[in-house]
């Protein structure tokens, strides 16, 4: 079975909010209706977003690290928000594992948001229905788009390629490789929701150079600059002559 998901590399995310902006732009112009903001230029601007980038500081000054943490629906493999829905508006697609809300069936009781430990469902105060990340389901299957464009808007927008997208059930996919090889993990594993989205941890990126990589082993006398310069008519030889 296919389970589409995002893999977010916390080692690469710089917190630029490009994914947030592109997500909002794509999804507010879609068939499902706008994601209206309330009071956008006032004192308390608010609105519905599918994706937020939060910032955390880890450690104690001066040994701190800033973690930019993009947060959207994790498309759990065992989504707790789906069975509680009284109308069946919330559902998980069998064919690709995307968790969706049918905005035409949702009664706006907000019960699903109570049942989600991650707080990734947001109630639209204008349409009065629950909204959430669709993994750009209206993009990724669009036959009018090129293969390159058929990816979620947030993935397309990321300037540092911190967001990978693919099928985590395909062991050879880019995301599966990333999860296996870069230590991909799930959020709040204690609840057994088995989120499909994974996060790649921060890594220390150090340049490890051995001494002999800096200094050539075959040039112990450091005579690079002193090599003989034979005349142009004579044969030249690498490492022996200067030409």
């Amino acid at each position: 079975m296919t389970q589409l998901a995002l893999v977010i590399d916390l080692n690469v995310c710089v917190g630029c909010q490009a994914c947030v902006t592109n997500c909002k732009e794509w999804n507010t112009s879609g068939d499902a209706g706008p994601m209206v903001d309330q009071n956008p230029y006032g004192k308390d601007p608010t609105g519905t977003f599918f994706n937020r980038v939060q910032t955390f500081e880890v450690g104690e000054f001066p040994n701190t690290e800033t973690i930019h943490f993009p947060k959207s629906c994790l498309h759990c493999e065992d989504p707790p928000c789906v069975p509680v829905c009284p109308t069946g508006a919330s559902y998980k697609r069998k064919e690709d594992g995307i968790v969706l809300v049918d905005y035409d069936k949702c009664i706006g009781c907000k019960y699903c948001s109570w049942a989600c430990p991650y707080g990734v469902r947001e109630f639209d105060e204008s349409q009065k229905v629950m909204k959430k990340c669709t993994l750009c389901v209206d993009r990724i299957y669009d036959p009018n788009m090129t293969e390159e464009e058929r990816r979620p808007a947030c993935v397309r927008a990321c300037p540092t390629s911190a967001r990978l997208y693919g099928d985590i059930h395909d062991p050879e996919s880019e995301v599966s490789h990333a999860i296996r090889e870069a230590g991909g993990y799930q959020l709040m594993p204690e609840w057994g929701t088995s989120p499909a989205n994974h996060y790649l941890p921060r890594r220390k990126t150090k340049l490890r150079l051995r001494h002999d990589e800096i200094e050539r082993a075959d040039n112990p006398l450091k005579i690079d600059g002193l090599l003989p310069k034979p005349s142009k008519s004579e044969p030249s030889l690498d490492d022996v002559t200067s030409w």
């Binding site: 947030v20 519905t48 509680v84 009284p86 109308t87 706006g108 009781c109 989600c116 609840w191």
Partner: protein, 327 residues
């Protein structure tokens, strides 16, 4: 969680309605076996059912204010296989219909005998309808309680005590209302209802106190470490991704101080349990004045509203870990 008044009214009002119906049917069952004087159906059970029905309708109306799209509410009966909310949506109207039929059957004295028990006790139609209503009343308490108890992330609610509390607190307020009703319509039943109301109120105090003790000892299962998957003892949120508010900051925080929460706790313990139990005790000693019983009910109802407010406010949702600092 942010306590929504629509849900506070819904759960407290239908709790009273269910409890009152249970009280009426209990009285009828006792009368059936000649343990209580028989009441005139026309005046007592029909009017009592009407009052219960009014409370249930009030709760139903309040519930619609909770919905973003009330015009689609009919859809919410479809997922009864998995959703306790859907089950409640089915059981509530079924119970209301049963209460209505129970009242109508008494009103028109439509009591064909369905069966006869050994000893010559005739089981008439109202007893059968009442028994169905009795089952539905308890089913509705269980559905209401399970809506909250089934959410395993909200550990303050995820307990069998939640369901027990809904049964006992709803039952207590319903029996207290039955005492008021009896003081007005059937004085010889006042002691009976007041006794049961006091017992259920005290049982409710025990189970609610047990859940308070349990919740005070809860340790959060999720931490900021598990929420973002970084294993460092010191993590501080610097920004939550927006400068204003969002659904997540409005729906899951009660926005009141710890002191306010604590005072509400003592207020509801006093109003919902202690004061009504004392007032009901006066009825047991023989006074049982209508005004005093009415005060007992009103005080208990206000106490239960405070109890329900506290019930929601106390629940700490793990999503709050992600919304600690605006930035």
């Amino acid at each position: 969680m942010h306590p929504a008044f629509s849900v506070i009214f819904l759960t407290t009002l239908i709790g009273v309605g269910q409890g009152l119906f249970l009280a009426l049917f209990t009285a009828q069952s006792y009368a059936l076996f000649d343990l209580l004087p028989k009441q005139d159906g026309h005046a007592f059970y029909a009017h009592g059912s009407l009052i219960a029905l009014l409370f249930l309708i009030g709760g139903l109306v309040a519930s619609f204010f909770h919905l973003g799209r009330p015009e689609r509410a009919w859809r919410s009966a479809t997922q009864w296989r998995t959703s306790w909310l859907s089950r409640e949506v089915i059981v509530l109207p079924a119970f209301m219909g049963t209460v209505f039929l129970y009242g109508i059957a008494h009103l028109f004295d439509f009591k064909p005998v369905v069966a006869t028990l050994p000893g010559g006790i005739a089981i008439d139609l109202t007893v059968v309808i009442g028994a169905v209503g009795w089952v539905l009343a308890f089913a509705l308490y269980v559905c209401t309680g399970m809506i909250y108890a089934c959410l395993r992330f909200l550990r303050e609610w995820h307990s069998s005590l939640t369901v027990i509390n809904y049964i006992l607190l709803g039952g207590a307020s319903g029996f207290t209302l039955a005492t008021v009703f009896a003081a007005a319509a059937a004085p010889d039943l006042v002691r009976f209802f007041a006794g049961w109301a006091a017992i259920i109120t005290l049982l409710g105090l025990v189970s609610r106190a047990a859940s308070l003790v349990r919740n005070a000892r809860l340790k959060p299962k999720s931490t900021l470490q598990s929420a973002i998957g970084i294993k460092h003892p010191k993590i501080v949120q610097k920004a939550q991704g927006f400068m204003g508010s969002s659904f997540n900051t409005r729906e899951f925080f009660h926005g009141k101080s710890v002191g306010f929460l604590r005072s509400i706790k003592w207020i509801f313990l006093l109003l919902a349990f202690v004061v009504p139990a004392l007032l009901l005790a006066t009825a047991l000693t023989g006074v049982g004045a209508l005004g005093l019983m009415l005060i007992a009910f009103v005080v208990q109802y206000l106490g239960l509203m405070a109890e329900r407010w506290f019930f929601f406010a106390q629940a700490n949702h793990p999503q709050n870990l992600y919304y600690q600092a605006i930035g």
